[in-house]
Amino acid sequence: MKTLVYLVIGTFFGILMYKSEAASWFRIFEMFEFGAFHMYGIIGSALVLGIVGVQLIKRFNIKAIGGQEMQLKPKNKSIARYAIGGLLFGLGWALAGACPGPMYVLAGAGYVSILVVIFGALLGTFVYGLIKDKLPH
């Protein structure tokens, strides 16, 4: 039953990513060219509602299902890992034109070449795991 719920959420998210064109390489390129408001509107409106909603959750101490705490833990303090990691991620995001969510969506849409990108992403994750203790965090 729970599995089915997550499958439905994922399917909804997949349709959403495809239909909003956030999964399109062209839209990512256009965003970094400041060519249209579309992507900024998507991220911006998601963010405004997200901030308001999280504030309401905290103000009224709203619990997750079954009375457990919401997963709103503060992130670890650091500058190096977020700045360097973020920069590397951004370089890849623009080059492949896809971030992790849309990668899965595009695989489902039948773009065989995205499997090369996903393989690269798995490799990048693996290499990070190998050398993480040598990196500034």
Binding site: L7, I9, G10, T11, F13, G14, I15, L16, M17, Y18, S20, E21, F29, G35, A36, M39, G41, I43, G44, A46, L47, G53, V54, A64, E69, M70, Q71, K75, Y82, A83, I84, G85, G86, L87, L88, F89, G90, L91, W93, L95, C99, P100, G101, Y104, G108, G110, Y111, V112, S113, V116, V117, G120, L122, G124, T125, F126, V127, G129, L130, L135
Partner: protein, 185 residues
Amino acid sequence: MNWIYDPWPWYIAGPLISLTMFILLYAGKQFGMSSNLRTLCSVSGAGKAADFFKFNWKKERWNLTVMVGAIIGGFIASQYLSNNTVEIAPDVISKLNVYGINSAGEAYLPTELFSLEALSSLRNIAILLMGGFLVGFGARYAGGCTSGHAISGLSNLQLPSLIAVIGFFAGGLLMIHFIFPLIFT
């Protein structure tokens, strides 16, 4: 019935993304797509090579299920709900034409990079592989991607997420404005 193929405008898509995040929060989970890459490494036995992959990945099955759903969603949307073309700004199309990408406005992804024929070019494979590698490496280094930092983290007013998102955009701008002219000539 043509409306069914139309793309969703930003003011529909953005709120639905935050809805996705809130549904997952209500389920006691955190919205983040790149964690699945780590889980997939772990499932494939990467724990033998690095402790980073030694964790109880079965606890992350819910997120793998979301990922499988996203694959199904991509299939449904591309097959039944889209004409699989993306209209972008005309001046952006002209810029892409200069780079030899002429499928802008006629495809969902540039056929010059993503068609099966394009895979016969070593340069294209290198672009896709390198792009993916940086996304995977960078997401784990930064501890999250667009969903984990730009949506979840910033919604929770996390300074680390703001630093990461500034990094995402700095990297993207660097790639498009300084490295693209070197790659696509």
